[in-house]
């Protein structure tokens, strides 16, 4: 019998047929929809007189544009309000399930999907959003698509796709305390580069990945796109199955054993061949901080910002020079000397309950530094928010000086009112540090939730280990 990778298995089980040109007609089980990349797709359907092929495969929620402050007055900005209303109207017109802005289940689409069980092992999951790779954490084949493909899936339940190559990233060993899935993701991107995964579907494996919680695996798979790959995956194990059990869209009790049996095969076969294998020592990963304007411009917290003159390649040297100017940094500067203006804990990468617990545990009675203008905590969904409040985490944050907000994408991409000012440095748990991403002229440093919380307290980057070893609030930093 042939030995297949997890990606091969997921692909084969969804291939309806091959086209004459050697592409695959791939069946899509779950289509997640948000307000930004869907209006033109629905308009296209209407213009062609088409209807959604399978309305029950769609779950929609507004997330990019929604305000994270008081929502009782709706959305003040006209164009943003129109876009959210357009999603509401489209879902009503076509009979699609939507968690609307005032629904307690509303949230970031990549948090809502797994949380509701709308994302299940063995599924194909698409969304007009590049961070759809997140859902691969459950052993699903999930990837981001453009708006034309959103329309294509709505109309046909399929996509015409060419299969990617297989890559395995093995993270061995055990992560040290204070090092999280986010640090693992950033370290991997630092290793293979932002185009390292282009053309590949990446499976993450190895002891350190197996040891991650399912939410941690979501963080890891979420940032696969920052490594250039549309697809990130982790094999199904007992943790995955326990995670899914009992969720709204999970298999009914009478289907549970059949589902579990089907999911048991969702791993790469022993001896399956990968086109590329990358091995990383998990025990050597330190807390990571990005210093530049691409996620691959990343260093351990103890590092120093690169000097352009040390780079021999002229294109790379130019990239470093441009990034240093934009970020307002000097070559040779210590990461821990970067002064911060804002802190953002949130985004589809790091806004789940475990992320908030990590950050809250680090705070432990300490206060946000006076030099920090704003520190935001934006839970990933209404249900995450409710859970955090039940655990008293909102109190931990607000007593420390953080603002506790309503769920949405918020300052990850600053489509709503949450954004950086020109020149402001931000410790952010989001996924992209591109120029202008969090606001024009804003300077983003990507970090884990614990690192962001520690940075909020210190006013600059510190190794979380310093706070973890001294659980009272008297230590010098």
């Amino acid at each position: 019998m042939s030995k297949n990778t997890l990606y091969d298995k997921l692909w084969d089980s969804h291939q309806v047929r091959e086209t004459d040109e050697g592409a695959s007609v791939l069946y899509i089980d779950r289509h997640l929809v948000h307000e930004v990349t869907s209006p033109q797709a629905f308009e296209g359907l209407r213009m062609a007189g088409r209807k959604p092929w399978r309305a029950d495969s769609v779950l929609a929620t507004p997330d990019h544009n929604v305000p994270t402050t008081d929502r009782s007055r709706g959305i003040e900005e006209t164009v943003a309000r129109i876009q959210v209303e357009t999603l509401d109207n489209n879902c009503d017109e076509f009979g699609l399930t939507e968690y609307k802005m005032d629904d307690p289940r509303q949230g970031i689409v990549h948090v809502v999907g797994p949380e509701s069980g709308a994302t299940l092992p063995g599924m194909t999951v698409v969304c007009g959003d590049s961070h759809t790779s997140t859902h691969g954490a459950l052993g699903a084949l999930s990837f981001g698509i453009g708006t034309s493909e959103v329309e294509h899936v709505l109309a046909t339940q399929c996509l015409i796709q060419k299969k990617s190559k297989n890559m395995l990233i093995q993270v061995g060993g055990r992560l040290r305390d204070g090092v999280s899935a986010k640090d693992m993701a950033l370290a991997i991107i630092g290793e293979i580069g932002t185009a390292g995964g282009t053309g590949y579907a990446i499976e993450f494996g190895g002891e350190a990945v197996r040891a991650l919680s399912v939410e941690g695996r979501m963080t890891l798979c979420n940032m696969t796109i920052e490594a250039g790959a549309r697809v990130g995956m982790v094999a199904v194990d007992d943790k995955t199955i326990e995670y899914v059990r009992g969720r709204i869209y999970a298999p009914k009790p009478e289907q549970w054993e059949q589902a579990k049996a089907a999911w048991a095969d969702l791993h790469s076969d022993e001896g399956a061949e990968f086109d590329r294998v990358v091995t990383i020592d998990g025990a050597a990963i330190e807390p990571q901080v990005t210093w530049g304007t691409s996620p691959e411009m990343v260093l351990p917290v103890g590092g120093t910002v690169p000097r352009p003159e040390d780079e021999a390649d002229s294109v790379k040297r130019g990239n470093i020079e441009r990034a240093l100017v934009y970020m307002g940094l000097e070559g040779g500067q210590a990461i821990t000397d970067i002064k911060l203006d804002k802190v953002f804990i949130g985004s589809c990468t790091n806004s789940r309950i475990e992320d908030l617990r990590d950050a809250a545990a680090l705070i432990n009675g300490r206060q946000v530094a006076e030099s920090i203008n704003q520190a935001l905590v934006v839970p990933g969904s209404g249900l995450v928010k409710r859970q955090a409040e039940a655990e008293g985490l909102d109190q931990v944050f607000t007593e420390a000086g953080f603002e506790w907000r309503e769920p949405g994408c918020s300052m990850c991409l600053a489509m709503n009112a949450d954004r950086l000012g020109d020149g402001e440095h931000c410790a952010s748990t989001s996924n992209r540090n591109f120029e202008g991403r969090q606001g024009q002229g804003g300077r983003t440093h990507l970090v884990s939730p614990a690192m962001a919380a520690a940075a909020a307290i210190a006013g600059h980057f510190v190794d979380v280990a310093q706070y973890m070893q001294t659980p009272d609030n008297k230590e010098e930093v």
Binding site: Q83, A195, Q440
Partner: protein, 219 residues
């Protein structure tokens, strides 16, 4: 979608690697519910010296001609006025899946993008909109950058059917493209219409899938 067959066009060089879709069309312009009107805001943060905002009246994004231009940015140099071909460095179009990036390029007038490599989603989105992206080797791209810099009014002739681009010297450089994408682009085909030709096979697949994995169909 407009078909793409050949193009003889002026080339604008954007000498940067990892040009991301946030740079191509910043987030504030994604609030539009239309496919058109993004051209004036293509590379907005690099092209203008002020902060661009979408039209607050909810009408299609308008071109405010009074905005201060960044004279250093390549698209603002008069010699590249009317360019239809954009050439850039590695990993062009990385980041967000926003198809608005392609719509902005197209609305500005760009029909061809050349780079040593592209991000997958952007690359894919181009073909849905009649924009041809293709990769040339790093050395070839280097050479084109040098020639464009040295010669004002530098044009390239792109022939999709033949899969090559002709330089002013008459030399050609070959590029690779997947057959299905090539056929769709050459004929401007409606991919949804093509997919619906497989409707019977999809129904058969669903019937089998409902038996194998009934939980996927619970509403």
């Amino acid at each position: 979608m407009d078909a793409f067959t050949t193009l003889d066009g002026l080339v604008v060089p954007l000498d940067r690697a990892n040009v991301d879709t946030d740079a191509i069309i910043p987030k504030q312009f994604l609030k539009s519910v239309k496919r058109s009107g993004f051209g004036p805001n293509l590379f907005d943060e690099w092209r203008y010296l002020d902060v661009g905002e979408p039209d607050q009246d909810g009408v299609p994004l308008g071109y405010s001609s009074g905005r201060p231009l960044n004279a250093d940015f390549v698209l603002n140099q008069p010699r590249y006025n009317g360019a239809q071909i954009l050439i850039a460095r590695d990993n062009f179009g990385c980041g967000s899946s926003r198809e608005h990036a392609v719509w902005a390029l197209l609305d500005y007038g760009i029909r061809v993008v050349i780079a040593p490599s592209f991000a997958d989603i952007f690359y894919n989105n181009c073909f849905k909109n009649g924009v041809l992206p293709f990769a040339l080797s790093g050395d070839e791209v280097d050479r084109l950058f040098n020639e464009i810099e040295a010669s004002e009014g530098y044009r390239l002739k792109v022939d999709l059917a033949a899969q090559h681009v002709t330089l002013p010297s008459g030399e050609t450089m070959r590029f690779e493209i997947d057959n299905f994408r090539k056929a769709c682009l050459l004929q401007g085909l409606d991919e949804i219409g093509l997919s619906l030709q497989h409707a019977d096979a999809v129904h058969d697949y669903e019937t089998k899938r409902k038996q194998d994995a009934p939980w996927l169909f619970a509403s």
